[in-house]
């Protein structure tokens, strides 16, 4: 699905990765691992088109990323460090706006997605009065809504409780079974039922 060739990126005069090539295929989970500051978030931002600070080529289904940005954005779901959840809007209004931004969030209704993330009954509460974990859940409700084949998740499990993490793992497993692909970073021991997780270690890339 996604092919990266000869990626080079440096930040503050430190080379994060050079000559870095890899591929992500359908029905695959790729976990980016590495120490703090090894460039995990930078890599994910590059992959989802949020950073131009690199040289190298990225292809989506054989087409260069720059050429078909809009199509790529439709096929990709990015959940970043920051959840993109507005504190003064309710969970429902937040999700409604996200659906406006991204038409591929159409798999189920907002109510169903909120039920799935365990926020049923909280849909009318402004998000700033929810807990950190609950706010994270509002952002992650997008995963239930999304029909995009590629998910790019940056530390999706921060602030989630054990039950929440388990549910998300099951969700990822389901996504993979439907032929999707997931790239994620996490410091959590990932256990995806019935799936082998392919690690990409950025510490090794930097040495090589």
């Amino acid at each position: 699905m996604l092919e990266v060739k000869n990626l080079f990126c440096e930040r503050d005069e430190r080379v994060l990765f050079a000559n870095f090539s890899f591929q992500i295929n359908a029905a695959e989970v790729v976990q980016i691992i590495g120490q703090n500051g090894s460039g995990k978030t930078t890599l994910l931002r590059i992959l989802c088109g949020l950073s131009d600070a690199y040289t190298g080529e990225i292809y989506w289904h054989g087409v260069a990323l720059d050429a078909e940005r809009e199509q790529y954005f439709q096929a990709m779901l990015y959940v970043g460090h920051l959840a993109g959840v507005k504190g003064s809007l309710t969970a429902e209004e937040n999700l409604h706006w996200m659906m406006q931004l991204d038409k591929s969030l159409n798999k189920c209704t907002i109510t169903e997605a909120l039920k799935q993330v365990g926020l049923f009954g909280f849909e009318d509460v402004p998000c700033h009065s929810l807990s950190a974990g609950q706010q994270r859940r509002v952002g992650l409700a997008r995963l239930y809504l999304s029909s995009a084949p590629l998910w790019i998740l940056d530390e999706p499990f921060t602030a989630l409780d054990k039950q929440g993490v388990k549910e998300k793992e099951a969700l990822i497993a389901n996504h993979i079974q439907n032929g999707g692909a997931v790239i994620l970073t996490t410091h959590h021991d990932l256990m995806i039922p019935g799936q082998i997780i392919r690690p990409i270690n950025l510490d090794e890339v930097a040495v090589a």
């Binding site: 131009d52 460090h81 507005k86 003064s88 809007l89 406006q100």
Partner: protein, 222 residues
């Protein structure tokens, strides 16, 4: 078009939830109007002479104060990233954001401006000129301000920089805006001034959205 209204609705809803965002520029505008006569001179003849300039400067600074926040909260909570990875066109989104900013700053200022004009003993025949010049001039301020806001949104303290970037661009609007009011107050024709303000607005309306979108991309992607 539907996306434009959805974005506009969201921004207005956000403003409605943070009501002091509307009150801030208006309060600033009114405070200048109230304090100026106290500090300088309450003489009606003097005040009516300086009214056009003072009202326009106050309106301009009120716009400048609020424009810094136009993308700030979206940047801080990650909404802006989501907007940039959205397949929806960024230009439309930017236009909706600028329009919502104008509705809560420039448009409201234009509406309460007769009140301020009264405090400054502006001759009554100058009122239409004041309202029209603010209605035509302040959208330009929002558009130009948004370029500066987009460029500085990634910086920790963009407040000073945005003034430096944007104030020189504001000067023509200030000159023609205050000129309109002065001409109107003296009973002179104002069509020429209004046409110039309109021309500046149309020019900005065409080009500024591209600049704002590019500025946001630079701020987020670098």
């Amino acid at each position: 078009m539907r996306f434009f209204f959805a974005a506009l609705k969201r921004d207005l809803l956000l403003v409605f939830r943070h009501r002091n965002d509307i009150i801030n520029p208006l309060a600033f505008f009114l405070m200048v109007a109230v304090l100026f006569p106290l500090g300088v001179s309450p003489d009606p003849a003097f005040l009516s002479e300086v009214a056009s300039g003072v009202i326009w400067v106050a309106a301009l600074l009120a716009c400048l104060l609020s424009v810094d926040g136009i993308f700030r909260s979206d940047y801080e909570d990650g909404s802006l990233e989501q907007m940039l990875v959205s397949p929806e066109p960024l230009l439309v989104l930017v236009m909706a954001k600028v329009l919502s900013h104008w509705l809560v700053s420039g448009f409201c200022l234009a509406i309460i401006s007769p009140l301020v004009a009264m405090m400054f003993f502006l001759p009554e025949q100058g009122y239409p000129a004041l309202i029209l010049s603010l209605l035509l001039g302040t959208p330009t301020l929002s558009l130009m301000g948004a370029i500066g806001a987009g460029l500085t949104v990634g910086l920790r303290r963009g407040g000073v920089l945005i003034s430096l970037l944007v104030l020189p661009l504001y000067i023509p609007v200030l000159i023609f805006g205050a000129g309109t009011v002065q001409a109107g107050a003296m009973g002179l024709p104002i069509q020429g001034y209004l046409a110039l303000l309109g021309a500046i607005l149309v020019f900005n309306l065409m080009l500024a959205p591209f600049a704002i979108a590019a500025a946001l991309k630079i701020s987020v992607r670098s």
